[in-house]
């Protein structure tokens, strides 16, 4: 117990640049997989690399683990330059997407594998393995072979094995990739709980934005080997820096328009669909073209075509899907443009808008965000 308290205190005072990635670059003949990426991760932070496949997130993770040698750049962990260290000398452990449990070894021996390589005395190994089995609640399974475990249990063995050496940095490669949906949601929270308990600094690679948002303190959206945006899940969701990020994280309606009024804390943008009043200022000149991003859940629907001077569009319902906690509508505007709106079902008897019904979608000035590309 004292140990975790001490560990927490240490993390609270944790170095802001615990892991520093300095203009890392990786090329595979002509193809640039990772393009001059910079990143600083704080001690105890859970950081997610988010992107679709082929965006370079896995290459970056493999460079941290030491399986790939960067073409240029440095990696510094806790003040030590580890760029040229082989994987077996790095104070970093990784949990593989396929778990990569040794099939010929028992759960106990899988977890003890790394400790034995360290030359740890036997009694101490036994103690540490017990501790790890306790942590992941697999004590009764110590003598089993991996193939005698369920997927969720295998994942926990893989986690225990990567935690056993008490690495300075833990890497998780698509940690929930092989689990089914129901198990996934529960495991994400469990995993974060364990990571916090141990106080580990952790980098997660995932293509699942929900997973990244559930687990990470901060995340980076990657595309074509570059970071498009780094920030907390809230920052990235509410203040996307460009169209790709806005579209990748959650769903969004994007409107292209022109800046007509620009004040320090307020601006107006004219789009073909309507006039937007936006509750924040932008850096730019009048008349410049911009994009307005509007999340479906920040729009409300009213029956009939109502007249609003701004922040509203009129249309007809063309699609509706009832999702339980909310209902998703697709509204077609007279211009042919479709807008996605989600309405939270706060009332059990709420009457849905019928298909083909005329509706007005409107929103507050605090709902949209302007993207200056």
């Amino acid at each position: 117990m004292n140990q975790t308290v001490a560990a927490r205190a240490e993390i609270a005072a944790g170095a802001p640049d615990f892991l520093k990635i300095e203009s890392i670059r990786k090329e595979y003949d002509e193809v640039v997989a990772v393009n001059n990426v910079n990143l600083a991760i704080e001690q105890g932070e859970i950081f997610a690399l988010l992107g679709s496949s082929g965006c370079g997130k896995t290459t970056l993770l493999r460079m941290l683990a030491g399986f790939e040698v960067p073409t240029a750049g440095r990696i510094v962990l806790d003040g030590q330059d580890i760029t040229d260290l082989p994987p077996y000398e790095r104070p970093i452990n990784m949990m593989f997407q396929s778990y990569a449990l040794f099939p010929h070894l028992t759960v106990y021996d899988n977890i003890a594998f790394g400790l034995k390589r360290e030359g740890m005395p036997k009694a101490q190994i036994a103690e540490r393995v017990e501790q790890m089995l306790d942590l992941v609640q697999l004590k009764p399974y110590a003598k089993r072979k991996p193939h005698q475990l369920s997927g969720g249990q295998q994942q926990r063995v893989a986690l225990a094995r990567s935690l056993a050496k008490r690495p300075k940095l833990l890497l998780l490669d698509e940690p929930m990739g092989a689990l089914d949906r129901k198990l996934r949601e529960r495991t994400q929270i469990e995993l974060v709980h364990i990571l916090r308990q141990v106080g580990l600094t952790c980098v997660i690679v995932t293509h699942d934005q929900e997973e990244a948002m559930t687990m990470a303190d901060r995340l980076a959206v990657m595309r074509e080997g570059r970071f498009l945006q780094i920030g907390t899940p809230g920052e990235v969701y509410e203040n996307p820096k460009n169209r790709f990020v806005a579209d990748f994280i959650g769903s969004v309606n994007l409107f292209d328009g022109e800046l007509v009024v620009d004040e320090p804390h307020y601006c107006e943008i004219q789009t073909p669909e309507c006039l937007f009043h936006v509750g924040h200022g932008v850096e730019g000149k009048q008349g410049m073209s911009l994009t307005v991003a509007l999340r479906p859940e920040k729009i409300s629907l009213e029956p009939g075509w109502q007249d609003y001077p701004y922040n509203a569009v009129q249309g007809t319902v063309t699609a509706r899907s009832y999702m339980g906690s909310y209902t998703a509508y697709e509204i077609e505007l007279p211009t042919g443009r479709r807008v996605r709106v989600t309405v939270t079902n706060v009332d059990r008897y709420e009457e849905p808008h019928e298909l083909g019904a005329r509706v007005t979608a409107h929103w507050m000035p605090s709902a949209p965000v302007v993207i200056v590309e």
Binding site: F67, Y88, M94, A100, K165
Partner: protein
């Protein structure tokens, strides 16, 4: 086929007959009390005694076994190295050429391979006075042929082993040599064992290379049998053949008994684990 079940049955009988009848005849005639191989003269064990006293045959058998064990071991070691290099390294200079060369002994007529090896050894001996024809040349010749078979057998298994296993071992602090012996080798062990058995049997009945590369007084068993068969068959040959059959049968029997026992043991282990799991589940549900 379903309309003529007798056709399928008789076809099967024919195939088995062609395959095994000669062996049965061979074994029966090894007990034949007659100088002529083809004439039945009653039962006897005298050829067995004669074969056991025949020092040439015994020596040849021992030599054959020695060569086979040495060849199988060397082939498996070299084959594993080759297979590892070809599957685990994405590219290295000469990879294409290396793959090609590894496959050459499979497609090259054995006579050509044997000729080439003979010429090579003779010229080597001419220049360096080494190696003299005998165990060394036979061992090298057999290994040249067998490495390919070993490499291919092991390579196909190695391709199935998830490279993440090796990366995980390295990630946990295992140096490359430890990774190989602690993770890779256990994963491919069955293929290595079967490659060893395969090359052992290939070496044991290799005639052509042996005939070219054996020296005076160092003829492996197949060469001895072949040369005696040319001089006229003698029931002693049948005895040698029959003994080989006995050995193979004993090997098969032992291995199947061992496999059955292991399967039973595994089933027992699984059943025990299942029981344990049920007990655990009951305990947890009782606790909550």
């Amino acid at each position: 086929m379903r309309r003529f079940p007798w056709l399928a049955t008789s076809w099967t009988m024919l195939v088995y007959g062609f395959l095994y009848l000669p062996i049965v005849v061979l074994v029966i005639y090894s007990f034949n009390d007659s100088r002529m191989v083809t004439v039945w003269g009653g039962w006897t064990l005298r050829w067995y005694a004669e074969a056991a006293a025949d020092q040439v045959v015994i020596d040849a058998l021992v030599l054959s076994l020695e060569i086979a064990v040495a060849t199988a071991t060397a082939s498996v070691v070299l084959g594993t190295c080759a297979a590892y290099a070809l599957t685990r390294y994405r590219r290295f200079p000469g990879k294409g050429l290396f793959t090609l060369l590894l496959n050459v002994p499979l497609v090259l007529p054995t006579v050509v391979l044997a000729m080439v090896l003979l010429l090579f050894f003779v010229s080597l001996e001419h220049v360096f006075g080494f190696p003299q024809k005998g165990f060394t040349t036979l061992f090298i010749g057999h290994t040249v042929m067998c490495v390919s078979y070993a490499a291919i057998t092991i390579m196909s298994r190695l391709r199935e082993v998830d490279p993440a296993l090796e990366e995980a071992a390295m990630d946990l602090g295992a140096r490359p040599s430890q990774v190989f012996f602690l993770v890779t080798l256990p994963a491919i062990f069955q293929a290595v064992a079967s490659a060893w058995l395969l090359t052992l049997s290939l070496s044991l009945d290799e005639v052509v290379i042996s005939a070219f590369l054996s020296g005076p007084g160092t003829s492996p068993l197949p060469v001895v049998i072949f040369s005696r068969a040319r001089l006229g068959l003698n029931p002693e040959i049948n005895v040698i053949g029959a003994v080989t059959v006995y050995l193979v049968l004993a090997g098969l029997l032992l291995s199947s008994v061992w496999l059955a026992r292991r399967a039973k043991q595994r089933a027992r282990e699984n059943a025990a684990l299942l029981r344990q799991a049920k007990v655990d589940a009951l305990a947890t549900s009782a606790a909550s």
